[in-house]
């Protein structure tokens, strides 16, 4: 019994010692300049986020996931928890008018996601910037041109088959 107690005591001391040591190492390296992600703060301070920062840090993925299925399956729209709303506040052009895309570590989302090595798939389908910053050319004319070419080709092929 005493032997068991002594062994436990030794283990506890060892654990405490180890954790103290690692904590001091962490603090030490932090002071030595651990790189932290550069997270863009929205310039418009009058708009408040839907939740406090600490809640958003932990829960943002759950909010978005919940809203995603409701919107997709049930057609419920206009909820404040939405990816588009995140993007609309947090993605802004820099002083040169350029927007850092999701592929850079300057983008609001990828800043943390790259830092924590968590892959982010949202932007394979969703735009990584607010709609107002997307310049769109009308593709209609080029599409129409393509269609004309296709038609001409298929007409030629048609004639070849029939006659």
């Amino acid at each position: 019994m005493t032997r068991f107690l002594r062994q436990t005591a030794v283990m506890v001391y060892a654990l405490v010692g180890f954790s103290l040591l690692s904590a001091s190492t962490l603090v030490g390296t932090a002071h030595a300049g651990t790189p932290f992600p550069d997270i863009h703060e929205p310039t418009d301070k009058s708009v408040k986020c839907i939740q406090p920062e600490d809640v958003m840090r932990r829960e943002h993925m759950n909010y978005i996931l919940h809203e995603r299925d409701e919107t997709m399956r049930e057609g419920i729209r206009g909820e404040p928890e939405s990816l588009a709303n995140c993007i609309n506040c947090h993605v802004e052009p820099d002083e040169n008018g350029e927007i850092a895309g999701i592929e850079t570590d300057q983008h609001f989302c990828s800043a943390c996601h790259e830092y924590t090595a968590v892959q982010i798939d949202c932007f394979q389908c969703h735009a990584d910037r607010p709609q107002k910053y997307i310049k769109r050319n009308s593709h209609t004319s080029s599409l129409r041109q393509q269609l004309q070419q296709t038609l001409a080709a298929s007409n030629a092929a048609d004639k070849g088959v029939k006659q």
Binding site: M72, E74, G75, I76, R77, C125, S138, L143, Q146, A157
Partner: protein, 266 residues
């Protein structure tokens, strides 16, 4: 050798669909606009035709009280006009890569020619929004589904891009995204590796609007397309269907499509 003309209903449908498939893959549409694109005043009748829209509050889920559908009058659909196709591409941010075989298309113009009479007609063909949709039947992940109000959709969040639905669809209505996509429209998220098709402009519909194709067709004063609630007996689409009837493409498959056609005479 020429087949003997057997004019049973089933044969003509088969003829129609084989043509539709061929025409759809290669013909797509001539890009010539036969109609003036100058602003047309929408006449009273035209606006009235599309008054059946969603009144559901956006915080409530869709229900089977509505069934959204379209009625297309092929006699008013001009050969060569691609206003609906252009509007769709614009609305959904569909950009061609000069690869017609694989470029995404939600709606395409199909020209049909009757073998017996030589009568030609042109119609827009898109997802028919089946009630019992083959795409949803075969989907291994549940990504393809039909919403309670009858709109067939792809949940790209869980689509694995297997393209089984594309093979199952009798209308060749679906496309696969082969290229990386950037700067998507807010109402039309789309990305590489997923299947997509006409969504009946679901965001517009939810917000009490009408699909972009119907809007363009009406705005250009062709009035060949009516959008509305098939379950509301007083909606213009239901009244028109009751009065003059409408065809479902491949009605032999009993899919109960949400898109109906008129004027498909031989």
């Amino acid at each position: 050798m020429k087949k003997t003309e057997n004019k049973t209903i089933n044969n003509s449908r088969r003829d129609f669909l084989s043509k539709a498939a061929v025409a759809g893959t290669i013909t797509i549409a001539p890009g010539v606009l036969l109609h003036s694109t100058s602003a047309h005043a929408i006449d009273g009748d035209a606006t009235d035709l599309n008054t059946s829209v969603s009144t559901r509050p956006l915080d409530q889920e869709v229900s089977s009280k509505n069934r959204w559908g379209m009625l297309i009058d092929t006699t008013k659909c001009a050969t060569g006009c691609t206003d609906c196709v252009d509007a769709c591409n614009e609305e959904n941010g569909l950009i061609g890569h000069n690869r017609p075989e694989t470029d995404a298309q939600y709606i395409r113009k199909v020209t049909l020619k009757s073998k017996s009479t030589g009568h030609e007609l042109s119609l827009p063909l898109m997802c028919q929004h089946c009630e019992t949709a083959p795409c949803a039947d075969v989907c291994p992940t549940g990504a393809s589904f039909v919403r309670a109000d009858g709109i067939a959709l792809v949940d790209k969040h869980i689509c694995i891009g297997c393209r089984y639905c594309m093979m199952a669809c009798p209308y060749k209505a679906r496309s696969f995204v082969h290229e990386d996509v950037k700067n998507q429209k807010l109402s039309a998220p789309r990305g590489k590796g997923t299947v997509e098709a006409c969504t009946m402009c679901v965001t517009r519909v939810d917000n009490g609007g009408i699909p972009a194709c119907v809007e363009a067709c009406t705005a250009e004063n062709h009035n060949a397309m009516i959008f509305g609630d098939l379950k509301d007996p007083n909606s213009p689409i239901s009244i028109e269907l009751k009065k003059h009837g409408g065809k479902q493409l491949r009605s032999d498959l009993a899919l109960n499509t949400g898109v109906r056609y008129q004027g498909m005479n031989e």
